[in-house]
Point group: C2
Chain length 291, copies 2
């Protein structure tokens, strides 16, 4: 599965990008630059895995998987802009605006966000999954990615800069910023295979649980990672006054929470009749990761 | 018609905006600020007009009309940002980022773009127009608004800064930057009413023609408007070295072109069986406007 979905993700993404042979070549190059620097493709993987679990075929899931990845990619480009996090590097390469300029980076983000919905409503997607599934996928992805989902999470993050936020604010921020798009991926996998309400609810719970566990694990790793030269913790958000799970709850309680959430995610998989071992392992992998 | 569609547009837009009663209140306020500073609602009007012309009812057109307006609004917010045109004012009010900050303005644009597609794929839209029409509307709007449409036009505009672009570049830029979204509005009106290919092609031609005529008329007005105090032409793009239709073709040729395009738009309306006088008048109004 792992190798297959990766190959299919890269192939479909490159088929969906507009040709570079246009006057707006720099825009397409900029979209491609960030889309190809794609890391582990966690979200597409979840779409393919849940689709397979619900009896769907990879072609039905391919457009949905790429649409989620486009949303993820646009959010990273906009997040790195000087008026947001002002990051010069992303995944070991110069960030998009450092290579293409702020104006093109802004527009490449806009174009990727738009392309995600063009992909979900394409004839290719409709042929594979049907008009209704395409509409529901679009509705789901937009809701989780928009003002009351991922974008909303960014706003809560901005507004808690330099403040010590209480746990409930941190929870809502991480739920929206990180877990919402993971949830969307899991639900879109089910939708691509025409799954029912019961399966959708289970996928949603799995996505939400691993999404929050992922964020807490990030805080733990930020806090336990040491600068090799200085032997001190590095990169901790709590250094700049921001709350993290670790600063609010302590590291032991955080480890317990990750385990509880991982267990909850794995338990949610019980409703599926097909073999869910791959998703079970994925939840465990995330909880046990060391970087 | 005019008063009705305006009322329905404002009412539907406010129903579609998320509640301000959330932690990300500033985001929703920022979206609302720009959405409510809406001007003449040219694009929603076109959706309602074409829907009515194809026998559709206003409720079927309402979500589609608002989605096009959300795309238009997001593009203005992002266009005004310091890394783009750096405009402090928009329609007589401070631009979005001057009120809410660059970070929130960026995210409000992203959220409006996302909300447009959430609206097109909502249960409300599907109940009124059906799953297939919703998918086709989403596909159409995304294609005209994205990398090879409106966003592509912005890129051509950025890259022709300070250069004297030839007529073919100016044409492609204006087609993409302005005419594409006008075309989308006309086509979405037809789609909301379940119209056929013949009607869609006619609406598309009408939209493209008035869209380009609008842009040429803008260039004429920019060049003939005089500063009341100094008695000199003001605001002309050709002053900063950029090509305009007037600088390339001269004012007489431009006036001829506007008339030809307006005639072409009106001729396209011949295929419709219902009374198209309102759209005929609208094309003439745009061509004859003096500001």
């Amino acid at each position: 599965m792992t190798a297959d979905y990766l190959t299919l993700t890269e192939k479909t993404l490159s088929e969906l990008l507009p040709s570079e042979d246009t006057r707006e070549r720099s825009l397409i190059e900029s979209m491609k630059y960030s889309l190809e620097a794609g890391g582990k493709r966690v979200r597409p993987r979840l779409v393919f895995e849940f689709s397979a679990l619900c009896g769907g075929d990879p072609e039905s899931a391919a457009c949905f998987a790429c649409a989620v990845e486009m949303i993820h990619t646009y959010s990273l480009i906009h997040d790195d802009l000087p008026c947001m996090d002002d990051d010069d590097m992303r995944r070991g390469k110069p960030s998009n605006h450092r290579v293409f300029g702020e104006d093109i980076a802004l527009l490449a983000g806009d174009a990727l966000l738009t392309l995600a919905f063009e992909t979900l409503s394409s004839d290719r997607a409709a042929k594979a999954a049907g008009d209704r599934a395409c509409r529901l996928a679009s509705k789901t992805l937009a809701a989780y990615a928009g003002a009351t989902g991922m974008v909303g999470g960014q706003v809560i993050d901005l507004e808690s800069e330099g403040k010590s936020a209480p746990l409930e604010v941190l929870r809502e921020m991480d739920y929206k910023k990180t877990a919402c798009l993971i949830k969307a991926a899991c639900e879109l996998g089910c939708l691509s295979a025409g799954a029912g309400e019961k399966e959708l609810r289970a996928a949603s719970l799995y996505g939400e649980s691993i999404g929050i566990a992922f964020q807490i694990q990030d805080d733990i790793l930020d806090c336990t990672a040491t600068d090799e030269e200085l032997g001190k913790p590095v990169g901790s958000d709590s250094e700049n006054g921001k709350s993290t799970y670790v600063s609010l709850l302590g590291i032991e309680k955080c480890r317990e929470l990750v385990d509880e959430l991982t267990e909850k995610a794995i338990k949610a998989l019980d409703v599926f009749e097909n073999d869910a071992s791959s998703l079970r392992e994925f939840a465990l992998e995330l909880a046990q990761r060391r970087k």
